[in-house]
């Protein structure tokens, strides 16, 4: 999965907000709100095309969680982003 380049993500208050820029802002109205983990994964997927497994590995390298928890988090966030139609 790789995130559409036409998004920008920023920390707003305690959470993260991603919104479309340029041409995408004309067709995608709204925002994606993410927690710390979501924003971490978002940034990885914005840089390059990642599989869920690569994302789980990256999460495990960064946070002290079990593989099962990490896999669940990754799957949930990826599904949420799929529904928002923000992958290339």
């Amino acid at each position: 999965m790789q995130i559409n380049h036409d998004f920008t993500i920023q920390k707003v208050g305690a959470s993260y907000v991603a919104v479309p820029v340029g041409e995408t802002s004309k067709t995608f109205h709204g925002m994606v709100r993410l927690n710390e983990t979501g924003a971490f994964l978002w940034k990885l997927m914005a840089e390059k095309d990642c599989t869920e497994e690569e994302l789980v590995d990256a999460l495990l390298a960064e946070y002290d969680v079990s593989r099962e928890v990490a896999a669940n988090d990754v799957h949930r966030i990826v599904e949420q982003l799929k529904q928002n139609n923000i992958f290339i």
């Binding site: 920008t8 920023q10 920390k11 208050g13 919104v19």
Partner: protein, 232 residues
């Protein structure tokens, strides 16, 4: 062509129709130097006319403000769709979904609160100051009631208005504030501009207290909001 000053930023308006000149007359300033210039193409005016039966001059004005609001974040200034009332030197902002009754509630403030006057009824600008506070500024774009003046005041509080059978006001949580603000900010333009607007939004959520007001159309609704939001 003429120059206006909005929220302390000098902007050159390169217009084709006279409509905007009349609209901006209270904001015009001397000289030709400006931070940036804005103009509108014929295609943009044609596109704007698809939204309704409006004159070329009116459509040009709408498009010019859109361009202005895409440039202003670089100067720590942003648009928030809201109605701002100034009372005794402080600005109180109301925002709501379209048609909920921002103007009605604003009118109730004017009727019930001594010294209240409308800073801008629809599209004011806000500037982030170096101490993290916000200042609200009047603009020539002030909604169909044409309520507004070329004045500014430090922002005291922001209130989200909803219709209710009874009047009730509660503090809004940050999570709630972010969701509600997204609909009222103008998050368009280049990557740099939108990123800057989100950084301003981060400052905005911290700058002032937020409330949700459920209200009916009554004098009590305005007094409840005023007594809760007022800066002592």
């Amino acid at each position: 062509m003429f120059v206006i000053e909005l929220a302390g930023v000098r902007i050159r308006i390169e217009n084709r129709y006279p409509f905007i000149e009349r609209q901006c007359r209270d904001f015009m300033c001397e000289g030709e130097d400006a931070a940036f210039a804005v103009s509108v193409t014929n295609d943009e005016i044609v596109e704007e006319q698809k939204h309704g039966e409006f004159s070329d001059g009116y459509c040009e004005s709408i498009c010019l403000y859109r361009h202005i609001c895409e440039e202003l974040p670089s100067y720590n200034v942003f648009l928030m769709h809201s109605s701002v009332v100034e009372v005794d030197g402080y600005a109180y902002a109301f925002t709501a979904k379209s048609g909920v009754g921002k103007s009605t509630h604003t009118a109730l403030w004017l009727k019930n609160i001594p010294n209240a006057r409308v800073l801008n009824g629809d599209k004011p600008l806000y500037r982030l100051e170096s101490d993290g506070s916000l200042t609200a500024f009047g603009t020539p774009w002030n909604g169909k009631e044409n309520w507004g003046e070329n004045i500014s005041a430090p922002l005291a509080a922001i209130c989200f208005i909803e219709r209710g059978l009874e009047n009730r006001i509660t503090p809004a949580t940050e999570d709630d504030v972010i969701g509600r603000l997204m609909h009222q900010l103008y998050l368009r333009g280049s990557r740099q501009s939108v990123t800057q607007q989100l950084m301003l939004m981060d400052a905005l959520v911290r700058a002032v207290p937020y409330y949700v007001l459920e209200c009916n159309i009554s004098d009590e609704a305005a007094l409840l909001a005023w007594n809760t939001m007022r800066k002592s």
